[in-house]
Point group: D3
C-alpha cells in the first residue's frame, strides 16, 4: 500500500513538471528571446546548407552592410530598425532591437526611432510597435 502511493506521487511529479514546463513555454521571458534566436539559427543553417550561391551572398552582404564604415555600427543598426519597422517585418524588428540593445541604445532613443517609424509608416505600424515594446521589455528583463 505504501509502495503503491509512493509510485503514485512519483508519477504525479514527473507528469506535473512536464505539464508546467509546456504550459509556461509562452510566459517565460528568457524563452521568447532564446526561441527566436534558436529558430533563426536553425533555419539559417538549413538555408545556407542548400548551397544556393545567390542566397549565400545575400546573407553575406547582410553582415557587411551593417559593419563599421563612414557611418558607425550604432547608427546603421538604428536605421535598420526603423526600416524594418516601416516595412512591418516583425523578425527583422526583433533582430535589430536586440542589436541596438546590445549596442547600448537606451529606451528613450529606441522610442524616438519608433516615433519616426510610426509617423512615416502610419498607424498600421502600431501593431508592430506593440510587439516591439514587448520584445524590448524582454531584453531589458534579461539584463537583470
Amino acid at each position: 500500500m505504501v509502495r503503491g502511493n509512493i509510485s503514485a506521487i512519483i508519477i504525479f511529479c514527473i507528469l506535473y513538471i512536464q505539464f508546467l514546463t509546456f504550459a509556461n513555454h509562452n510566459q517565460n521571458p528568457m524563452n521568447e528571446i532564446e526561441k527566436f534566436n534558436q529558430y533563426r539559427g536553425e533555419m539559417n543553417e538549413k538555408i545556407l546548407g542548400a548551397n544556393n550561391k545567390i542566397i549565400k551572398r545575400i546573407f553575406n552582404l547582410d553582415t557587411n552592410t551593417f559593419a563599421e564604415g563612414a557611418l558607425d555600427v550604432k547608427t546603421k543598426e538604428m536605421i535598420g530598425l526603423a526600416c524594418s519597422m516601416v516595412l512591418r517585418c516583425e523578425d527583422c524588428i526583433k533582430y535589430h532591437l536586440e542589436t541596438v540593445h546590445k549596442l547600448g541604445v537606451n529606451k528613450e532613443e529606441v522610442f524616438e526611432i519608433f516615433s519616426i517609424a510610426n509617423l512615416i509608416g502610419g498607424t498600421i505600424v502600431i501593431p508592430e510597435l506593440r510587439r516591439a515594446v514587448e520584445y524590448w521589455e524582454l531584453l531589458e528583463n534579461q539584463d537583470q
Copy 2:
C-alpha cells in the same frame, strides 16, 4: 489506503482541470476577443507610459480621426476597415471589425467592404479575409 486513494483522486482533479483550462485556451471563442483586447490595452498602456510625445500624439490623433465630422463615424470606420485590409494589418482589421460590428454594420455590408479590399488589394488579401471572417464570426457568436 482509502485515505491514500482519496488524496490521489483530489490531485488528479486539480491537475486535470488545470490541464484542460490550458488546452482549451485556444478553442474558446470569447477568449480570442478578450485576449486580443487585453493585449492591446496592456501594450498601449506601456507605450503611452514611455512618455514619447510624438507617439502619444499619434495615438491621440487616431481617436480624433474617426470621430464624427463631415463624414459619420460608421462611414469612417468602414473606410478604416477597408484600408487596414488592403494594407494587410491584421490587428487593425480586428480592431475596425469590432467597431463596425458595434456600430451595427451587418454581415452583407461587411462582405461588400471585404470585396472592395480584395479587388483593389488582390488575392494576397485573401489570407486576411479568412482571419477577418473568422473574427467576424466570433463577434457574432458573442452576441448570442
Copy 3:
C-alpha cells in the same frame, strides 16, 4: 516691303500661338483631366483588345464591385479612394476623386477621407495628398 513685314507678322503669330499652346499644356486644367482620361481610355481599349480572359474579367469585376449593393455607390467610391491613397496608386486616386466629385462629395468630406488615409498610411502618403489636392482643384475649376 510692307507685304514682306505683314507676312512676317502673320507667321510670328501662328508660330507664337502654337508655342504657347504647347507651353501651357501643363497649366491648362481641362487638359490635365482630359489627358488622363484619354490615356486611360486608349490603353484600356488596347488591354481588352488583347483578349486575355482573366484581365477582361478583372476589368469587369472592377465595374461590378462599385455598383449599388448593401452599401451605396457613394460609400463604396469613398472606400475605393481611401484604399487607393494608402496604397499610393496615383491613377487610382485620380479615378476615384473624379467619381466621388461627380457623386457630390464635397471638399470637407474629401479632406476627411484624405485625413484617414494619411493617418493610417503615414506621411509617405503626403506626396499623393499633394497631387490629389491639385487634381481636386482641377475638378472644381472644371465646374465653373
Copy 4:
C-alpha cells in the same frame, strides 16, 4: 489496495496520452500541413457561403488564372510563388509551395525562385524564406 492502484494507473494513462497529444500538436510535421489546408478549406467554405458575388468570382478567377494556357501550369505556379514571396504573403507562399512540390519542382529550382524573390524583395523577405524552407521540408518529409 490493488484495485486502487490499478484505477490510478488507468487515469494516469488517459491523462498522460491526452497531455502528449496536445503537447506534440506543434511538433508533428504532418499536422502542420493538414492543419493549414483544413483551416483554408473551412474558411473558404464560410467565405463562399456568404454568397458575395464579387468574392466568389475572385476565388473563381484565382483557379482559372493558374490553369494551362500560353504558359504551362508549372511556370505559372512558380511565378505565383515568387510573387507571394516578394509580397510576403505567408499563406500564399505555403499554398504555392505545395503546388510546385506536387508539380515536381525540385529543391534546387525552388531555391532559385527563393533567390530571385530575396534579391528583388530584399532582406525583409528572409523571415518568409525561413518559414518557406521549413514548410518545404515538411512537404519533403511527407513524401517518405
Copy 5:
C-alpha cells in the same frame, strides 16, 4: 528688303524645326526606349562610380541571379517581370519587359504574366499594366 525677308524665313525655319523636335520628343516611340536605357546606363555608371562596396555587389548579384541555372533564363526573367509588376516598380517592369521580349516571349505569354500579377496584386496594378502594355507596343514597333 528681299535679303531681309529671306533671312527672316531662314530664322523661322531653324526656330520652327527646333520647336517641333522638342514638341515631338514624347511621341517618338524609338526615343522612349532609348531614353529609358540611356538614363539607366548613365545613372548606373554614376552609382557604381561612387565605389560603395555593398551597392556594387547588389548590382553584381542582380546579374548573377538571372543567369542560367536550375531554371532557364526565360523562366527567371518572366518571374522577375511578374514580381516587378506586383511590387509596382515601373522601371523594373520596363527592364524585364525588354529582356523577355528579346528572349522571344510572345504577346499572349506576356499577357498571361500580366494576368497573374493583376490577380495577385489587385487592381492597383492596372496603372502599371497600362504603362507596360504601352511599353510592350514600343518594343514590338521597334522590331518592324
Copy 6:
C-alpha cells in the same frame, strides 16, 4: 524697311529666348530643386488652407518628430531618408536628401544609407536610388 527688319529681329529674340527657357526647363539643375520645393510649398499651403484639423496636426507632428531629442537631428534625418527609400517615396527621398545635405552628411555617408536601404528593400529600390543619386548631384552642383 530697316525699321521693319529691326523689329523683326527683336521679336525673334524675345520669342527665341522664351522658347529656349521652356525647352531647357528640364536640363537646368537649379530649376529641378527650385521647382520641387516651390510645388511642395504651394501645395502644402493649399492643404493647410483647407483647415482639416487632423491633416494640420499630422503636418505639425512631422516637424516635431525630426526635432532634436534623445537622438540628434542628423541621425533622425538619416533614418527618415532610409525609411523613405525602402518605402520608395520619391518626394520624401528628395526632401530628406536636401536636409541631410544641409546638415553636412557627405557623399560616402549618403551612399551607406543608400546601401542599407537597397539591401533591406531589395532591387526594386534601385530606380529610386538612380533618382536619388541624380538629385544628390544637383544638390552638390548647387553648392558650387
